[in-house]
């Protein structure tokens, strides 16, 4: 297949917390498995010195019947862990079944069920457990059931929420459309895809159950003599705290150790499932030495830019060099994975997490970007515009306050001056009612308007360089043309150099003065006259392939454009909403 390289399966991100938790968990399991075989004798045999403190042979003392506390604590591990596991299993099985049943139910029942689950979740678990135990009576099994029931709501809620999210996925919609029965949908498409978050909840629920079961045993509802768990040991020991304080140490330590283990495993799994959360900060460094630039350096000089994935060492961008002169628009075109966006990120010193970048020279005019650069200089001399105007704006702030900050902070303007700069900027990008826009929130603007506002903001500091990374990819074609026209006009009027990143060679050839074609991290071709390029006059076969693959409308005789007014004006006139 000539298609793009398959994305590799996400690697499991092992982390210290998880390993630590697993080691602790293994110790507990091993203790629970082995201790009763060897230590039941000293843990239960009567006689010997009673109520001893920490003495040789009995480091954690003996209880009033002369039983060794260390042995008792270790032996109690099995019962405690088995009870907690039982409770977690009950909660998990019942909760997942309930959650799926609610998801499968008809709409009215489902909504009622979801409300019920929400209500149950908000109720304190221990309180529910105590009520259940009070109804069923004392005993080991009772406590396990009580804690299991009390934790069911948490699993039910997670299941129902995940199922609701997953059922919006295309593969579930498609399966439903082709007639896959709902039960099969649940078992084949919904449940298997919940595994990760479910595992995390299981670990957390286990830690909770451990503490809760010990709590119930502590108040006397749990295991009854002669059987014993951490909770009963703790109760007995606390009763003699004034006489023989060392007795508390065993069960208390064991309880803390076991619940920490479960929490570490839960947190570790959560972190592993979300590898971004533990990524390393991106780095940018200098390699080699090059002589200083000539007397009048270009706006941007980038030499030998190389980018690696920090963990694997895989080279993502290899030895890319270019310059951008004042008043010039340089395009970088390439498909996904070509390294074009990473190159732009390095130039603006925004190296993503987990990425290492290096260059022999990276300079903005005379400023060395590989050395120390003040935040102010970066913010005012480089303007950035991203692909998705919806996510690069803060939805909670008005345009005036979020765009004004840069101007008041870095350019030292007063609020009033900043306002005026923005109003002028908005007018320059043809936003209707520029002054009114300052008081608006991002959601009040259409995608095209947001992107124009972003450009106005990026230009408000009068930067030497504007970096635009796929600024029109999320926009409709008619809006795309307006935004491109604005970039070109600002470039021609203010002389701002532009680095324009795009996957669309059709757009790039119409906008840019020069174009670099990137593929798999390398520049494969440099095009000096993009407007004139055809599949026949480019040198690299990949460029020709890109040009040939780009669909272009074929038009013969053309109808004249309508006289007077833009498309938008006509739209308003013809189709009143």
């Amino acid at each position: 297949m000539a298609d793009a390289t398959p994305d590799t399966k996400r690697r499991f991100a092992w982390n210290g917390t998880l390993i630590c938790g697993l080691v602790m968990g293994a110790i507990i399991l091993l203790t629970g498995l082995i201790a009763p075989f060897f230590l039941t004798e000293p843990a239960t045999a009567l006689g010997g010195g009673s109520s001893l403190g920490s003495v040789p042979g009995h480091p954690l003392g003996t209880d009033s019947l002369g039983r060794d506390m260390l042995a008792r604590t270790l032996v109690a591990t099995r019962l405690t862990v088995v009870m907690a596991l039982g409770a977690t299993a009950i909660a998990g099985a019942a909760g997942i079944a309930l959650g799926i049943a609610v998801w499968l139910a008809p709409r009215k029942v489902r909504e009622l069920g979801l409300r019920g689950i929400e209500f149950a979740v908000s109720y304190p678990t221990l309180l529910v457990a105590i009520m259940v135990a009070a109804i069923l009576g004392k005993g080991t099994v009772t406590v396990v059931i009580a804690i299991g029931v009390a934790n069911t709501a948490g699993f039910a809620r997670l299941t129902a929420n995940l199922a609701a999210g997953l059922s919006q996925r295309d593969y579930v919609t498609t399966a439903r459309l082709i007639g896959v029965p709902r039960v099969r949908l649940a078992t084949r498409h919904i449940l298997p895809n919940m595994a990760e978050p479910m595992l995390i909840l299981v670990a957390q629920a286990f830690a909770g159950a451990l503490v809760e079961i010990s709590g119930l045993s502590f108040v006397g509802l749990g295991s009854q003599s002669p059987s014993f768990d951490y909770g009963t040991l703790l109760r007995d020991a606390l009763g003699k705290l004034m006489i023989n304080p060392v007795l508390v140490v065993g069960p208390a330590m064991a309880l803390v150790f076991a619940s920490l283990a479960a929490l570490f495993i839960g947190d570790g799994l959560a972190a592993a499932a979300n590898p971004r959360s533990i990524g390393k900060r991106g780095r940018l460094r200098r390699v080699g030495q090059v002589p200083d630039a000539a007397s009048e350096p270009p706006v941007l000089t980038a030499t030998g830019v190389t980018v690696r994935h920090a963990a694997t060492g895989r080279v993502l961008v290899e030895d890319v060099s270019f310059e951008i002169a004042r008043g010039e628009i340089l395009g970088i075109v390439g498909e996904s994975g070509s390294g074009k966006s990473l190159t732009a990120a390095v130039v603006s010193r925004l190296v993503p997490e987990g990425i290492e970048a290096e260059a022999t020279r990276l300079a903005l005019g005379r400023t060395d970007l590989l050395g120390r650069v003040s935040q102010r200089e970066l913010a005012t001399r480089i303007g950035l515009v991203y692909q998705d105007p919806g996510t690069s704006l803060n939805p909670a702030l008005t345009l005036g306050s979020q765009f004004g900050d840069v101007l008041t902070h870095h350019r030292g303007l007063s609020r009033k001056q900043a306002r005026q700069v923005l109003v002028d900027g908005f007018a320059a990008v043809l936003l209707p009612d520029p002054a009114g826009r300052l008081r608006q929130h991002p959601h009040e603007l259409s995608g095209g308007m947001k992107q124009r506002a972003m450009i106005a903001s990026a230009m408000s500091t009068q930067p030497d360089l504007l970096i635009a990374d796929e600024p029109t990819t999320a926009l409709d074609v008619t809006v795309q043309r307006e935004v491109l026209a604005i970039i070109k006009r600002l470039n021609r009027q203010a002389g701002t150099a532009v680095l324009f990143i795009s996957h669309d060679i059709g757009v790039v050839r119409r906008l840019c003065d020069r174009v670099l074609v990137m593929r798999e991290g390398r520049v494969v071709e440099r095009i000096a006259d993009p407007a004139a390029m055809t599949p026949d006059n480019v040198t690299h076969p990949y460029t020709a392939q890109l040009l040939a693959a780009t669909p272009t409308v074929a038009i013969g005789g053309r109808a004249a454009a309508p006289a007077g007014g833009t498309a938008a004006a006509q739209a308003a006139a013809e189709v009143a909403p």
């Binding site: 298609d3 082709i178 109808a559």
Partner: protein, 256 residues
């Protein structure tokens, strides 16, 4: 008499107070492709969903392959969904991550049981038809590229040999070179199978490559409809012309 298989008349769809489709009519003959073009918010995806009964029309008629979809019962729709297939846009969310490709295709053939063994030959044949290898049926979606996944989604849509296929923006998430391959595959399948297709896209150039008929939607209304050649050579409505001029490859495209 032409052999009309899709006939939509006076279709209106509202989501709450928002009128998404206004008096939309469309027709398509067997073995032809209808390209539906429009920008975001034009209602083109809603039209696709209305055709398979995924959204409720407030008025109008949607006849597809002998069934009136708006008034159809649940049982009628269940049968209908085996004759009219939809291929979704995003190849990364349209395949169940924990099922092999074989299972996904078997499920399309037999939704209740999805036994790969029983349908192995048919699955292998279809994987070959969309340019993949039969041995790939035992692999999981994450082992495939976006273009390959879209090929699998196409195989799933066609394996029952439906009378109409609705393709909703199926190339817009792909790189251009991959898109070109998928368009080529569609052209091949149209030739060899006599596919009847509703092809929805925001990209005029892509629509031109696959369509016999074109319908231009703007703010929920049909502003222009007709044979593809006529629409591209002599657009009548100003909006169609504006769309054409906004294509970077068109001679009318300027940035001044």
């Amino acid at each position: 008499m032409s052999d009309t298989i899709v006939n939509v008349t006076g279709l209106n769809v509202s989501f709450g107070p928002v009128h998404v489709l206004k008096d939309v009519s469309a027709r398509l003959d067997r073995s032809e492709t209808l390209g539906v073009v429009g920008e975001s918010g034009s209602g083109k995806s809603t039209l696709a969903k209305a055709m398979v009964g995924l959204v409720k029309a407030s008025s109008g008629e949607v006849w597809v392959d002998g069934l009136e979809v708006v008034e159809a019962s649940r049982r009628e729709l269940a049968h209908y969904h085996r004759r009219v297939q939809m291929i979704p846009q995003d190849p990364f969310s349209s395949l169940s991550p924990r099922q092999t490709i074989g299972q996904t295709l078997a499920e399309a053939i037999d939704p209740g049981r999805a036994r790969v063994g029983r349908h192995q030959d048919r699955i292998a044949e279809w994987l070959e038809r969309v340019g993949l290898e039969p041995g790939m049926m035992h692999r999981y979606p994450h082992e495939f590229s976006g273009g390959q996944r879209q090929r699998i989604a196409i195989a799933r849509g066609l394996i029952l040999e439906p009378s109409v296929v609705i393709a909703d923006e199926i190339t817009s998430a792909l790189d251009v070179s991959v898109q070109a391959q998928i368009l080529e595959l569609l052209a091949e399948l149209r030739q060899s199978l006599g596919l009847t297709m509703v092809f929805i896209s925001h990209n005029l150039a892509v629509v031109q490559r696959v369509s016999d008929q074109v319908l231009v939607l703007y703010r929920g209304q049909v502003v222009e409809a007709g044979p593809a050649e006529r629409i591209y050579q002599a657009p009548q409505h100003w909006y169609t012309r504006a769309l054409l001029d906004a294509d970077p490859g068109s001679p009318g495209f300027t940035l001044d």
